[in-house]
Every structure is written in structure tokens, then in C-alpha cells.
């Protein structure tokens, strides 16, 4: 049986970057049969065509409800599927929900074989959200710098300050008001818009 060598894994994820990170991790860990579905239309028939042993889906994906249909006894179902996250392993459930991933296992694959796959998913999903956070922070830092530069310009012009003096003024105001420099700079921009 193919599943004994390397279970067939399907990743259902609309984020191509996260799917790629996960796929890479799985391949490095020796899982050679990994497919990715990014298109949610006719999701079930795509899954049936791939006939996987394990399905991984991100929790931000509304199509998770579509997968629930596979548990129903129906003519369309070729193989019964059970959800892995049963009550026997609550730490693992918590970790996977926190990370934002859910796993489904097709009947026939031993549960213990899923554990390393799920652990890998959790760490890769967490790595991805860390990356995303860093990216967001970098973006907002960049935004802040632009706003601060413009606010400095306004202060320099209105109060005849040097660039350094303008920055010191922003910073001391921010400290006094217990706000971020970016917020003070933004209010200067807003005020100057209003007073135009």
C-alpha cells in the first residue's frame, strides 16, 4: 500500500506562500507525495480525484465546511474520512487551532502516522504567521517613517526648525502624551490638512 511508504497529503490553502512553505517542510521531512489545492471551486471533486490519505486545511478558509460533507454517508463518498483531532490529544488540537490549521485523515492511515505531519504543519504555520507579522511591522514602520518625515517638514516650515529640532519636538511631545511618534506625526498631518 502506498500509504505505508509516504502518505499522500493534500494541502488546501488559498495562500500560495504559506502552502509553499508547508509543502517544502513536508518534502524535507521525507513526505514525497504532496499536492496543493488553491482553487476552492469543486473542492470535493478535486480532493476525490487526488484521493489523499491526509488533508490539511487552514482555518481561515470557509471551505472547511465543505470538507465536513465527506463524513456524511452518501453515494458520493468513496472513502470514509474521520477527523483526526479527537478528544484523545487535546494539546495537539489546541496547538493546531492556535496555529490556524486543521487536519483530516482518511480512514486507513494509522493515527500515529499523522502526528509528525501535524506537528510539522503547526510549526510551519506558526513560522508563516511570524513572517507575516514581521512583514506587517516592517510595512507599518515604513509608513510611520514616511508620516514622520512629512510632519518634520511641516514643523520645519511653520516653526523655522532644523530637521533635528523638529524630530526632538515630535519625540518629546509623544513622550509627554504617552503616544507613539507616528501618531503625533499623523495628527500634525491631519491638522495641517484641516487648516489648509
Amino acid at each position: 500500500m502506498g500509504a505505508e511508504s509516504s502518505p499522500k497529503i493534500v494541502i488546501v490553502d488559498e495562500s500560495p506562500i504559506r502552502a509553499a512553505i508547508l509543502e517544502e517542510g513536508l518534502r524535507e521531512a521525507g513526505y514525497t507525495s504532496v499536492a496543493h489545492i488553491s482553487e476552492m471551486q469543486s473542492l470535493l471533486s478535486r480532493i476525490y480525484a487526488l484521493d489523499p490519505d491526509v488533508i490539511l486545511i487552514d482555518l481561515e478558509n470557509p471551505s472547511r465546511d465543505v470538507l465536513e460533507q465527506m463524513f456524511q454517508v452518501s453515494r458520493a463518498v468513496r472513502r470514509p474520512i474521520a477527523m483526526f483531532v479527537d478528544q484523545s490529544d487535546s494539546a495537539s488540537i489546541q496547538a493546531s487551532v492556535d496555529a490556524g490549521v486543521s487536519a483530516y485523515i482518511v480512514d486507513g492511515l494509522k493515527k500515529e502516522r499523522l502526528k509528525p505531519i501535524l506537528d510539522l504543519c503547526i510549526s510551519r504555520f506558526n513560522a508563516f504567521s511570524k513572517l507575516q507579522d514581521e512583514l506587517d511591522r516592517a510595512k507599518s514602520a515604513l509608513e510611520d517613517r514616511k508620516v514622520i518625515d512629512r510632519a518634520k517638514g511641516i514643523l520645519m516650515k511653520l516653526k523655522g526648525l532644523t530637521e533635528d529640532e523638529a524630530y526632538v519636538l515630535l519625540r518629546s511631545t509623544a513622550m509627554r502624551e504617552k503616544k507613539k511618534i507616528g501618531e503625533i506625526a499623523q495628527s500634525i498631518l491631519t491638522a495641517s490638512e484641516l487648516l489648509k
Binding site: N61, V66, E68, A76
Partner: protein
């Protein structure tokens, strides 16, 4: 001192009592510091409620029952002390399917028996022509939408498992899917039916209140163990939701309610579309044809918020009819026990009422529903998937 409470919800109009309870300050007045968490799937709501990330949730009534019975998923006893809404769904069909049904109909197009019989003729013609079976979208295997569609079409002789395809689709995808021709019809809650009509890709064939006069749709779901440990918090939640439901049902508050629900972090669609649902006055055809029903969505009025064990029994009977559950008297008792009128009455200082003697469901087909005679209910219908 305030109690922090996390409540998950799906952006649908029948989450109104929860959203208004929070955004109008009724929850805060009860000493609750509620964080509403918007979710994208019923599976997420169910799982996060199960593992304790949510203390309570806006949940499909049949999911609360299925969880308590341990069918379809892990077993987690749920207490539902408050009905967030009765009815509120509609069946929308593509313009092509609507035309086909109207061409076959013998009778009033708002009469579900007439449309169901017409549908069976459409299905027979398609089979004769070797056309693909019709595909109907619904929101979840354990959903009122699923049971309402099945009850309706089976009454006309259409076997929902043999003659058509029933597929789960997330509500936000329904409109695109009917527009793209992947599905021919769907049963979903507000605002999605109206959006399909506005886009000209769907015609509202039925309000589900045509099929059943009273169907428990969404409940405030709480883990039973948590409810037992936190009775005061549960009572406070019920009171806050009850005040919100009363507020929503005052016609002069409707536009304010629609504005609250329309906010991007709540439901995030046009206030005008939401108000149609609250008013029960819906545009059913793209040409502007309107239809009005006082029973479209009941939030609190006509005692809608009070959990009714007979409603739970009806939902369980549908699970048995369609092969999702096998019948046992114990399971029936468990299902009924999910709907906690006792907690509702206690929270609001009401005295317990005797069970309503009349038909609590009011289905358009079959005999009056007797919650103590599930076998009799099932025997009345020819089509079904009962496990032996």
C-alpha cells in the same frame, strides 16, 4: 466587576441578538465584557467552542444537537438557553430553474407542494434528456437549510440523495456559484438570497416559513459543563440577548439595528439589504417584485427566543430520516435536553410553561409533529434514508 466572555459568530443576520447585545451595551449592563469573534466556517465555530476558545457561540441549532449526540464529530454536550432566531432562510433558484418550475407548476408558486411537484417533473424531464442532475447548495450537513430543502423536495417525490445533488457551500460563495452555474439553487440565510436577487442571478422561490411555520435556526450555544460552572454568566447572557431581541423587534429601531449589523467587523453588507430581512420584506425577483411575510425571521417575537424541546425533537427526527443518526429513545431525550427553556425561564424570572399542545413546527406536508412519536413522523414519509 465585569466578566470577560468570548463569543464566536458567523456574519449572518440571525446573529443580530448577539451583536446588538454587545454594540448597544446590553451585555455590558449585565456585567459582561463580551468579545465577539467573527468566524468563517461552522466547523471553526464548533471546534473553538469545543476546545474552550469560545465560551459561547452563534451556532446552527442542528450542530448543537449533533455535538451533544456525538454524531458527525466529537461528542460535546451543549446547552442552548436562547434561540437566536426562528426561520430566516430562503430557497433561491437560478432564473433558468425558476422558469422550468413555473412552466411545470400546477397551482400557486408560493405553495411549496406545488413547487415541489413541479420540481419533480423538472427532474424527471432532465433525467429523460440525460441532463446532469440539479445541484442544490446548502450550508452544512447538520443545518436547518439541509433539512428544509430535503423536507420540501421529498414531499414532491424528489429523493434528495438520488435525484439531485446536495452540496455544502460556505454562504459567501453561494451567489458566485449560482452565477457561475456550478449550482442551480441554494438554501441559505440572510443576506445572501437578497444579494443573489440584486445581482440578477437568483430568484427567491420560497421563504422557509412556507415550509415550516417555526424552525429553530440558530441558538446561543454553550458547553454544558461551562454552563453548569457559570450559571450567573449564562443568565446574564440570556438577559442581554433577550433585551437585544426586544430592541430588534421594535419596528422603529430597525434602521439603527441594520446600521449596527452592517458594520464591516460585524456582517459587513449594506444596511438596506439587512433591513429587508429584519422587516420580512424582500425583493424576490430582479425586476423588483416584492414579497412580504411576518414570519420571515423571528428574533424574539412570538416567543421565538424561548427554546422549545419539540423543535429539537424535529431536528433530531430529520437526522434519523436522512441517515445521519440512528433512532433511540435516549438520543431523542438528549436532543430535546439541548434546548434549555429552564435556563431561559430562570434568567428572565419567568415561570415554566406547560409544553405547547399544538404543533410546534407547522410543516406544510405530513401530519402534525408529535415530539414523542418520532417513528410516527418518519412513517408518514415515503422517501428517507433511515438506518435499520
Amino acid at each position: 466587576m465585569t466578566t470577560p466572555v468570548h463569543i464566536g459568530f458567523i456574519p449572518l443576520v440571525d446573529a443580530a441578538a448577539l451583536i446588538v447585545a454587545v454594540d448597544k451595551g446590553f451585555a455590558a449592563a449585565e456585567g459582561l465584557d463580551v468579545t465577539l469573534v467573527r468566524e468563517v466556517s461552522w466547523s471553526n465555530v464548533r471546534d473553538k467552542l469545543n476546545i474552550g476558545m469560545f465560551d459561547a457561540a452563534h451556532l446552527l441549532a442542528p450542530v448543537a444537537i449533533a455535538s451533544s449526540l456525538g454524531i458527525g464529530h466529537v461528542k460535546m454536550p451543549i446547552a442552548a438557553p436562547f434561540n437566536l432566531g426562528l426561520n430566516g432562510n430562503a430557497i433561491t433558484v437560478s432564473p433558468a430553474l425558476h422558469a422550468a418550475i413555473l412552466a411545470e407548476i400546477d397551482g400557486d408558486p408560493f405553495d411549496p407542494m406545488a413547487t415541489a411537484l413541479a420540481l419533480s417533473r423538472v427532474v424527471a424531464t432532465r433525467r429523460k434528456n440525460n441532463a446532469e442532475p440539479l445541484t442544490f447548495g446548502m450550508t452544512f450537513p447538520f443545518s436547518t437549510h439541509n433539512y428544509q430543502l430535503r423536507f420540501w423536495m421529498a414531499a414532491g417525490g424528489v429523493d434528495p440523495d438520488e435525484d439531485v445533488r446536495l452540496v455544502v457551500l460556505p454562504p459567501p460563495y453561494m451567489v458566485d456559484s449560482i452565477a457561475g452555474g456550478q449550482i442551480d439553487a441554494f438554501c441559505v440565510g440572510a443576506p445572501w438570497n437578497s444579494i443573489a436577487v440584486d445581482r440578477g442571478v437568483g430568484h427567491i422561490l420560497h421563504f422557509v416559513s412556507d415550509i415550516l411555520l417555526r424552525a429553530a435556526e440558530k441558538v446561543l450555544a454553550i458547553r454544558q459543563s461551562w454552563a453548569e460552572k457559570n450559571p450567573l454568566v449564562v443568565a446574564a447572557m440570556v438577559r442581554a440577548a433577550s433585551r437585544a431581541a426586544e430592541f430588534i423587534e421594535q419596528p422603529h429601531n430597525r434602521s439603527e439595528v441594520a446600521r449596527i449589523l452592517a458594520q464591516p467587523e460585524r456582517i459587513g453588507v449594506d444596511a438596506e439589504v439587512i433591513q429587508r430581512t429584519l422587516d420580512g420584506r424582500l425583493k424576490i425577483l430582479p425586476d423588483g417584485t416584492m414579497r412580504e411575510s411576518s414570519r420571515y425571521l423571528l428574533v424574539g417575537r412570538e416567543d421565538a427566543a424561548r427554546p422549545d424541546r419539540a423543535q429539537a425533537a424535529w431536528l433530531y427526527a430529520q437526522m434519523v430520516r436522512w441517515g445521519q443518526a440512528s433512532f433511540s429513545p435516549e438520543a431523542l431525550e438528549t436532543a430535546k435536553g439541548v434546548f434549555r427553556a429552564d435556563l431561559y425561564d430562570a434568567a428572565l424570572g419567568l415561570t415554566a410553561k406547560p409544553a405547547n399542545g399544538s404543533d410546534a413546527v407547522g410543516a406544510f406536508a405530513g401530519p402534525a409533529f408529535n415530539p414523542d412519536d418520532i417513528a410516527g413522523h418518519l412513517a408518514a414519509f415515503r422517501i428517507g434514508r433511515q438506518k435499520s
